[in-house]
Amino acid sequence: MELTPVQVKVPSAIVTAHARPPALQVDGLVIGLVGRRAPMPVVTGLDLTLARQEVLGLVGESGSGKTLTSLAIARLLDGRSVQVLAGTVTLFGRDLLTLSEAQMRSVRGKEIGMIFQDPMTSLDPAFTIGYQLTSVLRRHFDLSRQAARRRAVELLGMVGIGDPRRRVDQYPHQISGGMRQRVMIALAISCEPKVLIADEPTTALDATTQAQILELIKDLAQTLHMSTIITTHDLGVVAEVCDTVAVMYAGQIVEQATTEQLFYHPQHPYTERLLLALPRVGVEQEMLGIPGAPPRAGQFPEGCRFAPRCGHAVEPDCVAHVVPLEHLAPGRTARCVRRPELTLRGVRT
């Protein structure tokens, strides 16, 4: 087994995106809150394609269902309160939702690596960083204690932690927030997974640390040939690292495109408003908020879910019927009935 990263320049992901079968495909995913009452869908019929070695941004406000989606892919939902109600999740041709729990365990960590939002609470306070790394490594590889430890030190070095030999024996509370997120990344890539899912990896971090962490994820995705999903509420993060973007609103994908297309030629009013809401240093452009708040699960409007907050919404077109996702080109979709007649503003107009 070769564990050292190989320095190979990978051709741009977009070029190869549709030439080969995708790394991960999500079809008609429905996630619902379950409990005493009837299941209440939160994510309703989500389709998502992650091409090999691309970095996909899954963008949405809090409550849009993006975190639930990423947890559902790794089958990490707390089954007592949230469950996948319908749909398939296919990883390199294998349907994950039909695997047994034991089979799924060997997928987690080995084939799908996960990075979670809050580095303060996502590392176990009672165990050393080294233990947390080696227990995952030894779960998936037949490694001796020493070999696993050597690999853990190596991994810490790879994610840019100085003095890894000392750090490996420290506890999470002894290191800074930025460094903890690096440990999280080391944990996620420890078994060189083919798919990396990062759920809001930089939200809890400072601006300068955020830039470092994004840079690191981007580099690692490239050197380890990983296909990556990054969920975020911040399109700024997307501009930084993503090849393609899927915008989620109220449990649905409303637009999917390459990053450039989405930023320069958005096809959904929600995307336009998200772009206008971005603060940009040194650019004289008013920051505009999106009025109102997203609907809660169980109270999704009948027609277009964004209509109550949308400046372009008209009756009855936008409110009467369910709006289908329109396929404009390969990898390019939008969910807006008025799309053909609207000219939406991108960041360069």
Partner: protein, 314 residues
Amino acid sequence: MLQMIMRRTLIAVPLLLIVSFAVFALTALSPTDPARAILGEGATPDSVRALRHQLGLDQPLLHRYWTWLDGVFHGSLGRSWFGNVPVGTKILQGLPVTAALVLSSLVLTAIIAVPAGLYAGMRTGSPLDRVASFAAGLGLAMPEFWVALLLILVFSEKLHLLPGTGATSITGNVLDDAKHLILPIVALSLPQICALFRQTRASTALVANQDYIRTARAGGISTHELVWTRVAKNALVPSATLLALQLGRMIGVAAVVESVTGMHGIGSIAVQAALSSDIPIILGVVLVTAAVVMAANLLADIATHYLAPKARQS
């Protein structure tokens, strides 16, 4: 680590002094005159005065305390007011009995409650968990001595399986001692098992929902491995603290269970002393039990130190 143990041991000395002085000072408030109590109603004022002088009761409080303390430093806890037996001797007679009872109960409590609590805590809301939790609530509501009475009624009086009386002393005949100890141990541990079960279950349920457990699951670690490594280490911190506290409770409750089953432990010695207002014995028992509980707390702190590295800093 060693430093912490040293520091805590050093702190324990003044704390024990405070405890003993507080109890000693309370005796000064006693409405009954021990000398008169010892001699009975028919005693002459002269003989009462003589006895008071003999017991040192006519000395000022601080002087008496100092005399007593001086004795303690020389290995003597004073003498009983009745029968003139040294307090130390009496306590040493009772100590092995109580120790056997309490320590066995403590071990039984830990080995039943902790795994059961971990198991139930990982499955909160399941039928099994609900039944176990209700049973624990029921067990907590039972007075130990009443359980002991029922156990005697069933296993000794009706079924003749076990002796109804507890061990009066530890004879060294393990099998015989064990036979005599079984019913008292069961009675003493039942509520404590329930209490520790509830604590362990609650903290397990809390830990099982933490982000870091999800992280470990995302790494492919199995639930089984998680429970016995990650969850256990995080969840058992409050359980360790509770177990130390339970030692104290058990020593107190042992007094009642010992009385029910006719054992001669320090608990029943204390009860006898209380019924006759034998203050020196009471003082000795309080001091010894407080020292034992402090030692147990120290052990709990050491356990916490090992289980929760974050607590080490403070």
